[in-house]
Each structure stands twice: as C-alpha cells, then as structure tokens.
C-alpha cells in the first residue's frame, strides 16, 4: 500500500544543480573578468552545488547535528593538509 511522505523538493534541487552547472560552463569560456575572479566564482558555484547534494540528497539538512559533524570533520583536516603543503612553496 503506497503512502506519501513529505519529501524535500528533489526535482527543484535538480533544476538548481543543472542551472549552476550551466553557469559553470558559461564561466569556462573567455569572459571579460580577471582569472582570479573567475576562479572565485567557479569555486563558489562548485561549493554551492556540493552543499545542495549534501544537504538535500544525502539528507544532512534533516539529520542530527552530531551526524553532520561526523560528515564535515574530515574537511578541516584536508584544508590543514593543503595549507601545510602550500606553505612549502611560500617560505
């Protein structure tokens, strides 16, 4: 017997992801903006898309805070690793 629960708007999230991917593709072509600005915009779009997938498709938005913590705790470790590695080139 089929019953309908309240689910997040998956199709709407899919449309967001498609539009953001199209925006990324547009940025890949030659535009009258600086390379750093393009890099910044591309990273913002990528993180935005990753957050949409994590929050809605992986349901992190609806999980308890301690499970969210389990999911995000390795990210600062990776950032520390990158920063430490890049410091080799700076100093």
């Amino acid at each position: 017997m089929a019953t309908t629960h309240k689910h997040p708007p998956y199709i709407l999230i899919w449309v967001y992801l498609a539009v953001l991917t199209a925006a990324e593709l547009g940025l890949a072509f030659e535009l009258p903006i600086s390379r750093n600005m393009k890099l910044l915009l591309l990273m913002i779009l990528a993180i935005w898309k990753a957050l949409l997938v994590g929050m809605y498709f992986m349901h992190l938005k609806f999980e308890k805070w301690n499970l969210r913590l389990l999911a995000i705790v390795p990210i600062p470790l990776a950032l520390i690793f990158i920063a430490a590695g890049m410091s080799e080139h700076i100093w």
Binding site: A2, A28, I82
Partner: protein, 223 residues
C-alpha cells in the same frame, strides 16, 4: 568466562541510540568520512602541485573536452536525482517505482563510466598519457608550437589520470553495488517501507560520488 566478558563489554544502550541512525547507515557515514580524507588527499596534492608547478598549467579546453565532461556531469547529477527518487518511492511504499528509478540510476552511472572510458581512449589517441604527452602525437606538436606548456604536462597528466581514475573506480563500484541490490533485493521485492536500509545506504555512497565529481569537474576541467 568469555561469555561474561562479552556481556560486560556490550554497551548499556541499543547501538542505534547514539547518533539516532541505524548501524548500517552509521557505518556508511564513517566510511564516507574516510573517503573525504582520501579524496581530500588527492585534491590537496593536486592543488599543492599546481600551486608550486614550474610554469603555467594548460588552459582549460585545450587538452580536455569541457563539453563532453559537462554532459557527463549533468548525467551524474541526473542519476543522483533518480537515486533519491528511488529512496523516496520505497519510503512511500511503492516498490515498482523504486525499481524503475534504481534502474535509471544504474543506467546513468554505467553511461558515465562509458563516456569516461571513451574520453580516456580519445585523450590517449591524441597523445595525453599519465606521464604527460607522448612523442610524435598531436599534443606533442602543440607543445612544440608553444600552445601547451612543456614543463607542466607531466604533472598535468599524472594528476588528471589519478584523480579521475580513482573517481571512475568509485563510480564503477557504485554501479556494481546497485546492480547487485537491484537483482538480489529490489526485483524479488525484498524492500518495503519497514526495510529499505540498503537503498538508503547505497544512495549515500552514490550521492557522495556525485559530490566529489562536482568538485573534480571544477578544479580539473574548468580552472
């Protein structure tokens, strides 16, 4: 004696109570945390190598095809949506709908891998290999003409094939896992509203693979 020890070591509360998720799901999240560190190391190494490279990196679109990969990215996003629709269908007690969406996800994932293999073959034919550029190839002529930087092509090739290769391996594992669940559990009707843990757990893995590709597509193909 050993029985008494095992009893003493047993937690005084049901295992599900801690994070309020069942054990299979918790296990998948712990595995995904280790995967974040794995891909974090790969992406971190790429950023460090590119930041400290002895010269410019090849411009986007010269070696790699952005259009084909953008389509592949869209395909993976679509398969992520079909996976979550499969989960929603069985949570609503509709196994037929779940079977349909799960099959769509498997097809989407298989097409992604197929297109990636096609891309690899095309790149190798043009002379782009993990060690850089093959002598006498089309890309070697571009390097000689100064359209591609000779100094960084080796790093470019090794980082590209390592990151996308490991991701492709993960996608392949995901497709095989879903195919196994489809044949052994979904088709025989073993999933229900009360028991659909397998769909949720494999779905988490699939969305993670999609999430990693979103980052890889940007930093490898567009930057």
């Amino acid at each position: 004696m050993s029985q008494a020890t095992a009893e003493a070591m047993r937690p005084p509360f049901p295992a599900e109570r801690g994070l309020d998720v069942y054990n299979k799901k918790l296990g998948m999240w712990i595995f995904l945390a280790s995967e974040v560190m794995f891909f974090g190391a790969l992406i971190g190494s790429y950023v460090i190598l590119r930041f400290g490279a002895p010269g410019e990196w090849a411009r986007p679109g010269v070696v790699l095809s952005i259009q084909i990969t953008a389509f592949n990215t869209f395909l993976l996003i679509c398969s992520s949506v079909s996976m979550v629709k499969a989960y929603a269908a069985i949570a609503d007690g509709d196994p037929k709908k779940m079977n349909f969406w799960l099959l769509m996800t498997i097809i989407g994932g298989a097409c992604f891998v197929g297109i990636q293999v096609f891309e690899y073959i095309h790149l190798v034919e043009r002379g782009f290999v993990p060690s850089g550029v093959r002598e006498g190839s089309e890309l070697a002529e571009l390097v000689a003409a100064g359209s591609l930087p000779a100094a960084t092509m080796g790093l470019y090739g090794s980082t590209f094939f390592t990151m996308t290769g490991f991701h492709g391996f993960h996608v392949t594992c995901g497709v095989l896992s879903m195919l196994y669940l489809y044949v052994t559990k979904a088709l025989p009707g073993k999933y229900s509203v009360a028991d659909h843990a397998g769909i949720e757990v494999v779905g988490l893995y699939w969305h993670f693979v999609d999430l990693v590709w979103i980052i890889l597509f940007t930093i490898v193909y567009l930057v």
